[in-house]
C-alpha cells in the first residue's frame, strides 16, 4: 500500500495541467517539457535586444531564497526575473535566520508576510522546495533552484535546450553523464529529462562509489570504463567533482580520477566526431575536464549559461501564469457559487 498518493503532480500542476510550481521533472510529460523549451526559445530573442525586458512579471515580487551559496544560478535567476520586469529580493539564508535557530517554517512565515509572489529556492536538503510548496499560501509559486541531491530542474532544462539547439532534437541521441552521479541533483534531473524527451540511450560513466543504488532504475545504463563508454556518443555531460569526495573515502585521489574519468582530447576522439561537450559548471580544469576540451570547438559550456537565463524566464513566467489562472478560476467559481 502506498501511504499517500505521490502527489507531486497535483503539487506542481494545476487541475488542467499547467505549471504552478517547478519542483522536479518527475511527472512532467514530453509536451510540457517541450513547451518549456519552446517558451525559452522565444525569450532568447529578448536577450539579444538592446532593451532586454518584457512586462510579464511587472509588479510581482520574486524572492531568491538561497539556503546554500551559489553565484551563477542565483545571478541568472535574478537576471531572468528582472528581464520579466519583476522586483527581486535576494536572501542568503544560510548566514542569517537559520544560524539564529529560526526554523524554516518560521522563516517562511516572515517572508510571506512581505507579500512575495514567487520563491526561488536553493537548499542543501533534498525535498526542501516540496516542503515549502506544501506550506506556503496558495498563489505563491515555488521554483526549485537545486535541492540536495534531488533535483535541479532548471539546469537540466537549459541543458536540454542546449542539446536541442545543437542536435535539432533528442530522437536517436546517445548521451553520457560522467562523474559523481551519486551526489548530483543535476544528473538526476538530466536523466529524467532525456528519457522523457526520447533520447536513445543515457549512459552513466563513473566508479561504483559515485553511483546511487540501483541507478539503472532511473533510466540509464552503467559503464565503468570511460574509453568504452565514449563510443558513438552524441553528447557528453561532465559533472563537477567536489574535493570532499576524497575525504569520504569515495575516491583515492584527484589524479586517479582524472586519469580514469577526466575528459581529455584523446577520450573525446572516441566519441562521434560531432559530439558536444557540456558541463553544468563551475568547472574544475584538470580534475574532470582538460582545458583544451573545455575551451575547444566541441564545448558548448558557455551556450549553457546563456540558455540558463531563457529557461528561467520560461519557467518563472509559466508558473506565475499557472498560479494566476488558478486564482481567476477560483474567483470565477466563487462568483458563480
Amino acid at each position: 500500500m502506498t501511504a499517500t498518493d505521490p502527489s507531486k503532480n497535483s503539487l506542481q500542476l494545476t487541475a488542467d495541467g499547467q505549471l504552478r510550481h517547478f519542483l522536479t521533472l518527475d511527472g512532467l510529460n514530453r509536451a510540457l517539457l517541450t513547451e518549456i523549451l519552446d517558451t525559452a526559445d522565444s525569450f532568447i530573442e529578448v536577450g539579444e535586444r538592446s532593451i532586454k525586458k518584457v512586462p510579464l512579471l511587472r509588479g510581482r515580487t520574486v524572492v531568491n531564497l538561497f539556503f546554500e551559496s551559489s553565484t551563477r544560478t542565483r545571478s541568472t535567476f535574478e537576471l531572468a526575473a528582472k528581464r520579466l520586469s519583476a522586483d527581486v529580493l535576494n536572501l542568503d539564508i544560510n548566514t542569517s535566520a537559520t544560524s539564529k535557530g529560526e526554523s524554516l517554517s518560521d522563516t517562511l512565515l516572515n517572508l510571506e508576510a512581505m507579500a512575495s509572489d514567487m520563491f526561488v529556492v536553493r537548499h542543501s536538503q533534498s525535498g526542501a522546495p516540496h516542503f515549502i510548496a506544501e506550506s506556503v499560501t496558495p498563489g505563491v509559486a515555488i521554483i526549485n533552484a537545486g535541492d540536495g541531491r534531488h533535483a535541479h530542474p532548471t539546469q537540466a532544462m537549459l541543458d536540454m535546450l542546449t542539446i536541442r539547439q545543437h542536435k535539432g532534437g533528442f530522437e536517436g541521441l546517445k548521451v553520457a553523464i560522467v562523474g559523481d552521479v551519486l551526489h548530483s541533483r543535476v544528473a538526476r534531473s538530466q536523466i529524467r529529462a532525456l528519457n522523457e524527451l526520447g533520447a536513445a540511450e543515457v549512459r552513466v560513466i563513473a566508479p561504483a562509489t559515485l553511483l546511487p543504488r540501483d541507478v539503472e532504475s532511473l533510466g540509464c545504463t552503467v559503464e565503468y570504463d570511460m574509453t568504452r563508454g565514449m563510443k558513438d556518443l552524441d553528447v557528453v555531460i561532465m559533472l563537477r567533482l567536489q574535493k570532499e569526495r576524497m575525504e569520504g573515502a569515495l575516491l583515492p585521489s584527484e589524479r586517479e580520477f582524472y586519469r580514469l574519468y577526466g575528459l581529455n582530447q584523446e577520450k573525446l576522439a572516441l566519441a562521434h566526431p560531432e559530439c558536444i561537450v557540456m558541463h553544468p559548471g563551475p568547472i574544475n580544469r584538470g580534475v574532470e575536464i582538460e582545458s583544451a576540451v573545455a575551451d575547444g570547438p566541441q564545448s558548448v559550456i558557455l551556450n549553457q549559461v546563456t540558455n540558463g537565463i531563457a529557461i528561467r524566464m520560461a519557467v518563472m513566467s509559466m508558473a506565475m501564469g499557472g498560479q494566476m489562472a488558478e486564482r481567476s478560476r477560483k474567483l470565477a467559481g466563487r462568483a458563480q457559487g
Binding site: 501511504a3 526554523s103 517554517s105 533534498s126 525535498g127 516540496h130 516542503f131 541531491r149 541533483r185
Partner: protein
C-alpha cells in the same frame, strides 16, 4: 466495578464464542460456567473479539522529558485505546533511564497516572552514549525488565561484547535495534529505488544485517538472552531463523508499520514516514510478514514515537524519525488480515503471547488470572484524527482513513483502562 460479565464475544485466535466473568479484577469463570453466573454489569460484546491485552516491546512514553511530545498519562491512555495493557518503555527519555532513580521515577508516575502497565527498559550504557556500562544490576533491581540502548548505537563491538557479558552475569535480557553506525552514517531512508530517485541519503540493508551478524556472534559467545528489535530487512529474517537453528537464545520483533508500508511512502517527501529503521522494499515487507506468520519473528511492536508537530515540519532530512502508531497498530494488523497477508491467529499471537514470552511473562485468558484483556470490534470502523486520538503525537500512519477495528473495552490489571469513563 465488582463483577463484570463480557457476553457474546468470540476468542480472537480460535473464533469460539465465550463468556468471561471478571470479579474483583480476576477472571473467575470462562465459557458456559461464566454464562450461568450473575454479575453486577453485563458488557455486550456481540460481534467483538476477545484477546489478552496487547504487549508492546517498544514504546516511547516521552516521560521524563519536557512534555511537548507526550507524557506517561497521555501515551498510556492512547495505548489503552489501542488495546495495549503492557508497555515496555524505551530508555530514551530525558534524562535517560540509566539509573535506578530514573526507573523509580517512571514507575512512580506510572502508578499514579498510567492507564496501563509500564515496564521500563533500562539503558545498557550510561546516558545511552554507547561507551560506558550502566548500573545494570541496579536498574534491574529497580524494576527494569530488560536493558537496551534505545535508538542509539553502541560505539563498538568491544563495548557491545562487554555489555552482553555483564548483562549475562545477572541473567538479564538485552534488547537492541541492530544498526551499524558507520554504514548507516547520515542516512535517513532505505538505500533503494526511491532514495536513488529522490536523492535521499540511504541507509543500506547491510547496516542492519552486519549489526545482526555481529550481535548474534557475540550473543552466542556470551550466552546472553538477545532480543533484536524492529527488524526491517528480508535478510535479517533469514539470519534470525538460522541463528535459532543453531540454538542461540535470540528473539525478535518488527514494527507494525514495517509490515504495512514500503520505501514508496517517502516518494512525496512525506516526513510522516521518516522512521528508523527506514521503510524498505516490497521484498523486505513480504519477508517480514512471512517471519511473523511462521513465528520466526516473535512480536509486532508499535514502535510508538509521539512528537510535537514542529518535529515533523521541516525538509525530510531535518525531521525527527518516528510515527505515532499505538492507536492504529491493531487497525493496521486487521487491514493486513483483510488483505490476506496475515492470519488473525498470527496477528494476535504477535501482539500478545509472543511479546509476553520475550520478557518472561504470559498473556492469556484463563480462569484465575488477573483480568488483562481487550475487547475489539473488527468490523466497526474509525477515522484517526484530532477528535479520535489520545496521543500527543498526531503524525499517525493512516491519517483521515477509515480503519477497521474499534477497541470497545480494555481491562488492565483488573481495572478498566478504556474507555476512560466507567461502564
Amino acid at each position: 466495578m465488582s463483577s463484570l460479565k463480557i457476553v457474546g464475544g468470540r476468542l480472537a485466535d480460535t473464533n469460539a464464542e465465550t463468556t468471561i466473568l471478571v470479579r474483583n479484577g480476576r477472571i473467575v469463570a470462562l465459557g458456559d460456567a461464566a454464562g450461568k453466573e450473575p454479575a453486577d454489569h453485563d458488557f455486550d460484546a456481540t460481534g467483538c473479539l476477545l484477546t489478552p491485552g496487547f504487549v508492546d516491546l517498544c514504546c516511547n512514553l516521552r516521560e521524563p522529558g519536557n512534555g511537548q511530545k507526550g507524557n506517561i498519562a497521555s501515551e498510556s491512555l492512547a495505548a489503552a485505546h489501542g488495546g495495549f495493557t503492557t508497555l515496555c518503555a524505551s530508555p530514551d527519555t530525558s534524562p535517560v533511564n540509566d539509573s535506578g532513580a530514573v526507573t523509580n521515577l517512571i514507575l512512580d508516575v506510572a502508578a499514579k497516572r498510567s492507564s496501563v502497565r509500564v515496564l521500563p527498559v533500562g539503558a545498557i550504557t550510561r546516558g545511552l552514549e554507547g561507551d560506558l556500562l550502566s548500573d545494570m544490576a541496579g536498574l534491574a533491581g529497580a524494576g527494569c525488565i530488560a536493558l537496551g540502548n534505545g535508538a542509539r548505537p553502541v560505539k563498538n563491538a568491544r563495548v557491545l561484547r562487554r555489555c552482553m557479558a555483564y548483562a549475562r552475569t545477572f541473567g538479564l535480557t538485552v534488547m537492541f535495534s541492530p544498526e551499524n553506525q558507520a554504514l548507516a552514517a547520515d542516512g535517513y531512508a532505505h538505500d533503494g529505488l526511491v532514495a536513488s530517485r529522490l536523492g535521499l541519503l540511504g541507509i543500506p540493508e547491510v547496516a542492519e544485517t552486519a549489526a545482526i551478524m555481529e550481535m548474534l556472534l557475540l550473543a552466542e559467545e556470551t550466552g546472553v538472552r538477545l532480543h533484536l528489535g524492529q527488524l526491517s530487512c528480508a535478510r535479517s529474517v533469514e539470519m534470525l531463523a538460522d541463528a535459532r537453528k543453531r540454538g542461540i537464545a535470540v528473539t525478535a520483533d518488527v514494527a507494525m508499520h514495517q509490515l504495512m508500508f514500503t520505501e514508496e511512502a517517502l516518494s512525496g517527501f512525506d516526513s510522516r514516514y521518516h522512521v528508523r529503521p527506514p521503510l524498505r522494499s516490497e521484498k523486505d515487507r513480504q519477508a517480514l510478514l512471512g517471519g511473523v506468520r511462521d513465528g520466526v519473528i516473535d512480536a509486532i511492536t508499535s514502535q510508538h514515537q509521539p512528537h510535537d508537530s514542529a518535529a515533523k515540519q521541516a525538509p525530510l532530512a531535518a525531521t525527527e524519525p518516528g510515527l505515532s502508531t499505538i492507536e492504529s497498530t491493531l487497525s493496521m494488523g486487521l487491514l493486513l488480515v483483510e488483505r490476506g497477508e496475515l492470519d488473525m491467529a498470527s496477528l494476535i499471537r504477535a501482539l500478545t503471547s509472543g511479546p509476553a514470552g520475550v520478557i518472561g511473562r504470559t498473556a492469556e485468558l484463563r480462569e484465575g488470572t488477573v483480568a488483562d484483556l481487550c475487547v475489539f470490534d473488527p468490523d466497526a470502523t474509525w477515522v484517526p484524527g484530532d477528535s479520535s486520538l489520545s496521543s500527543v503525537g498526531r503524525h499517525v500512519p493512516l491519517p483521515g482513513k477509515t480503519l477497521p477495528g474499534v477497541v470497545r473495552l480494555t481491562l488492565c490489571d483488573g481495572r478498566q483502562a478504556w474507555p476512560q469513563s466507567d461502564l
